[in-house]
Amino acid sequence: MTIKVSMKVNGKPVSADVEARTLLVTYIREHLRLTGTHVGCDTAQCGACTVMMNGKAIKSCSIVAMQAEGADLLTIEGVAKPDGTLHPMQAAFKENHGLQCGFCTPGMVMNALDFAKSHPNPSEQEVREALEGNLCRCTGYHNIVKSIMAGAKAMGGKL
């Protein structure tokens, strides 16, 4: 049985017929071919699939696509400016070497964007606690924490 889902993704309206059990992350990756959102686990622990739904960071592996009916989604592909200029949070990751293999990075950035909206000048401890739901195996978190502290400052509480 398929169900029609419609939502806005990165500012554009999209719709498709999907199986009822289709996860939101599967919809994003396989139907919309936005492969920047990654799948790193099957227990909603790693955070590689984090996207923004209606302005809040969520793990897109833990809801089905039809739960996002009518929602406004932002994925990593929609974060930079249309002319390609990096968002201040993305730029902070680059400047602070906050990524290595890049696989966890989109989820880290999406989570950081949500966090930084309400934390314009976070402490190291606040950042570390905010990263509870995102795993990275490469960086040891040191430079991710630095990146988010710098990115949050640059954002000044605004997305």
């Binding site: 974060v79 070497h97 040191h142």
Partner: protein, 785 residues
């Protein structure tokens, strides 16, 4: 003129695509008409397969084909080879039981692959896999290395489950040293089994083209050429020129993506049978069950000293768990990469190490970040720290009393260190960690009712793997050189092809720095290409911190050829003698004059050879080089860890972690620091949070997901103080040693030394959970009543 790029903190070229979602990992690749594979895996640790019933699964929607072990046997698909032959103490080759790509009559660990279901969609493949009905006769199993020799045989023909008993060093000399010792320190411990957990799960897409009988495999691999060589020559019996292996963006490896895995073979072979691309991506639970694990040693180690704490000898006995099958490089990890490092940074004159490698009903164990060297460092540095405490010597002082200070230095365990300065890294670490202020901080902790401890680890590793002739004499079945190609384009920009593979290390940046610096051209004019056997001439891949030392040197050799040819072209253009041409930062100059040609002008002349020495030179400017290292490189350093322990809960908090490493010359300090940070947290994970556990009764992996295998998270670890000292490697032109694994090698011992110091106990088992530490506190009556 361009600023020097060697040693510059250049931001990474690869970051933009990763930060904007434009990276392309294997699972992101979609090929027209691709089918999807799901593997049916054994739910038992050890069982006979009585019957496999496929009728229901074959009728399920979308199913195209199901293959079982017999299908592969009928098609003469071979088993997976082991790349390193270990010869045992009796001169006999190690036991190499078959490693079938799909089980042949028996399963030997939970997760062993029994069948593959290929369907139109992934959901259909997974649904149908649930309908495959396998009738098992469950057999008794064993997961514990220490019990393996008396456990039920994992393989026919290996009655005692022993792959080999191997030894290195002078046993009699060692016994004599122990006989005259004033003090002997002895430790027994387990180096805990770890699951690598690159955040990108393994993935593979096999493709077949009937028009020219060629195959293409996309795979999350650290070494596409090795993957191709093993698969074509040893498993599928295909000619290499008909197989293209592409390892696109790879989301972390840490060793686990070195190896040839059954799934890679199966999707490649199946693509021809179906005449369709076949895609498989591991679920995380499959990663836990099938990615080669790391470590799992049971060790007894002793250090003999004279009355002044001077080391006289070391004796080590280790049982190493190989798991159910020999993975690609499993056999060399607890031998060649372990026992040879037991001299550490010290002048210990005699060392003897005996290693028994055993089969158990567990996931195969192979190289994981550090591969043998973390285990060796743990032995040496836990012994040394414990010896200092027993002899009432300062732990830094006992190390200084035993440091190697004269180079080259021949160790009693086969390696020859070319250079090093262990005092420099130790002294710097002591200062940076403010060891002098530790006593005061310990008092402050005590006032808060907490315990504080400090621990050192002074590690060494052998990297830049490896001189092929040496490796070959030790049993390697492959060469360990590296290849590089420098393609200069007509207008002077450069594409470099390297056999090294980058899966987080940032080679696209560091290698470009080397090239741009050497040629004196802007870094924007240099691109690095890797990870595709049809583009790159050859390669042995990335592991063992070898990329810059071996892969980087191959590129330098090719650059030297480019410059040498450029000089000939410039001499012709400038009407000068070749001997008078100097190359300096992008300019070919006639010595002592102002006559010169820019790099781009010479490149242009090579491709538009109107005015060209055709009698002496071919047109074009494209050079390649293979580099086989003269020796290993020997990065070394000192780590100092300081912990605070809560007496009520046993929770360990890392208060300070200082790392001073000597990686030789450094190309990009920003990237080097990142490598150290990441390695440190993997080592801290081993010591504090990560413990792979099997149920001893039934062989189930009970830590099979992120819900029960505790990966270190951001709030489990501190920020780090890191620095470097440089003694350039003496035998490669860049003076580099490699930095990828150091953090994971040195940190477990430093952390466990700190914890045992805080508790005042001789040993605490890794991984030191709060519960483990709390139990020690109860025994020591440290707990507050």
């Amino acid at each position: 003129m361009n600023a020097p790029l060697i040693g510059a903190r250049v931001e990474r070229k690869e970051d933009y695509r990763f930060l904007t979602g434009a990276g392309q990992y294997t699972d992101d690749v979609q090929i027209a008409n691709q089918a999807h594979a799901a593997f049916v895996r054994s739910p038992h640790a050890h069982a006979k397969i009585r019957k496999i019933k496929l009728d229901k699964a074959l009728k399920a929607p979308g199913v195209l084909k199901i293959f079982v072990g017999q299908d592969l046997a009928d098609a003469k698909v071979g088993g997976l080879p082991c790349g390193w032959l270990i010869t045992d103490v009796a001169g006999q080759p190690m036991k190499e039981p078959p490693h079938p790509c799909l089980a042949q009559g028996k399963v030997r660990h939970v997760g062993d692959q029994v069948a593959v279901v290929i369907a139109e969609t992934l959901a259909q493949a997974r649904d149908a896999a649930e309908l495959v009905d396998v009738d098992y006769e469950v057999l008794p199993s064993n997961t514990d290395a220490a019990k393996a020799r008396k456990a039920p045989p994992v393989h026919d023909g290996v009655a005692d489950n022993t792959c080999y008993v191997w030894a290195l060093g002078d046993k009699n000399g060692c016994d004599a040293a122990f006989a005259k010792a004033a003090h002997v320190t002895k430790l027994e411990f387990i180096n805990n089994r770890l699951v690598p957990n690159a955040i990108e799960p393994r993935a593979a897409i096999g493709g077949y083209n009937r028009a020219d009988s060629s195959y293409t495999l996309y795979v999350a691999s650290q070494n596409p050429h090795v993957e191709r060589l093993l698969m074509t020559a040893f498993v599928l019996g295909l000619p290499e020129h008909k197989v293209r292996v592409i390892a696109p963006d790879v989301g972390g490896g840490f060793g686990s993506k070195i190896f040839l895995y059954p799934e890679d073979v199966v999707v490649t072979w199946a693509a021809k049978q179906l005449n369709r691309p076949v895609k498989w991506t591991a679920e995380r639970s499959e990663s836990f069950l099938t990615d080669a694990h790391g470590r799992d040693h049971v060790t007894v180690a002793e250090l003999a000293m004279d009355k002044d704490g001077k080391f006289l000898g070391m004796r080590v006995k280790t049982t190493a768990n190989m798991g159910a099958y020999l993975s690609t490089f499993a056999s060399c990890v607890p031998t060649i990469l372990y026992a040879t490092l037991l001299a550490g940074q010290y002048t210990t004159p005699v060392i003897h190490c005996e290693v028994t490698a055993v089969f158990t009903n567990t996931t195969p164990v192979d190289a994981y970040r550090g591969a043998g060297r973390p285990e060796a460092t743990y032995v040496v540095e836990r012994l040394v720290e414990t010896a200092a405490r027993e002899m009432k010597l300062d732990p830094a002082e006992i190390r200084r009393r035993n440091f190697i200070r004269s180079f080259p230095y021949q160790t009693p365990v086969a390696l020859q260190y070319d250079t090093g300065n262990y005092d420099a890294t130790l002294d710097a670490a002591v200062k940076m960690a403010d060891v002098a202020g530790f006593a005061k901080r310990k008092e402050e902790s005590a006032r808060k009712g907490k315990l504080r401890g400090l621990g050192y680890a002074a590690y060494i590793e052998a990297c830049g793997i490896a001189p092929s002739a040496v490796a070959g004499s030790l049993g390697a079945r492959a060469g360990l050189f590296e290849a590089g190609e420098v393609r200069v384009h007509p207008t002077g920009s450069v594409t470099v092809f390297t056999g090294s593979h980058s899966h987080g290390q940032g080679h696209e940046t560091t290698f470009a720095q080397v090239v741009a610096d050497r040629l004196g051209i802007p870094i924007e004019n240099v691109d690095i290409v890797h990870g595709d056997t049809s583009k790159v001439l050859f390669g042995m891949g990335t592991y063992g911190s070898r990329s810059i030392a071996v892969g980087g040197t191959a590129i330098v050799k090719a650059l030297d050829k480019v410059i040498a040819k450029g000089k000939k072209i410039a001499a012709h253009l400038l009407e000068a003698s070749e001997a008078d041409i100097e190359y300096d930062r992008g300019e070919f100059k006639v010595a002592g004059t102002d006559k010169k040609k820019m790099f781009g002008e010479v490149a242009f002349a090579a491709y538009v050879p109107h005015n060209y020495p055709h009698d002496k030179l071919e047109p074009g400017l494209n050079e390649n080089a293979f580099y086989d290292p003269a020796n290993f490189t020997f990065p070394a350093g000192t780590y100092v860890c300081e912990v605070e322990i809560d007496r009520d809960t046993g929770a360990v908090k890392i208060e300070r972690f200082t790392a001073v490493d000597d990686f030789g010359r450094i190309i990009n300090p920003m990237i080097v620091e990142g490598q150290v940070h990441g390695g440190l947290v993997q080592g801290i994970g081993q010591a504090l949070t990560e413990g792979c556990r099997y149920d001893p009764e039934n062989g189930q992996l009970v830590t099979g997901s992120y819900m029960d295998y505790c990966m270190p998270r951001a709030d489990d670890v501190p920020s780090f103080k890191v620095d470097t000292r440089e003694t350039p490697c003496t035998h490669n032109p860049l003076g580099v040693k490699g930095c990828g694994e150091a953090g994971a090698i040195g940190s477990p011992a430093a952390l466990m030394n700190a914890i045992t110091d805080a508790l005042g106990v001789k040993d605490v088992a890794m991984h030191a959970t709060a519960q483990t530490v709390w139990k020690h506190l109860q025994e020591k009556n440290h707990a507050r009543v």
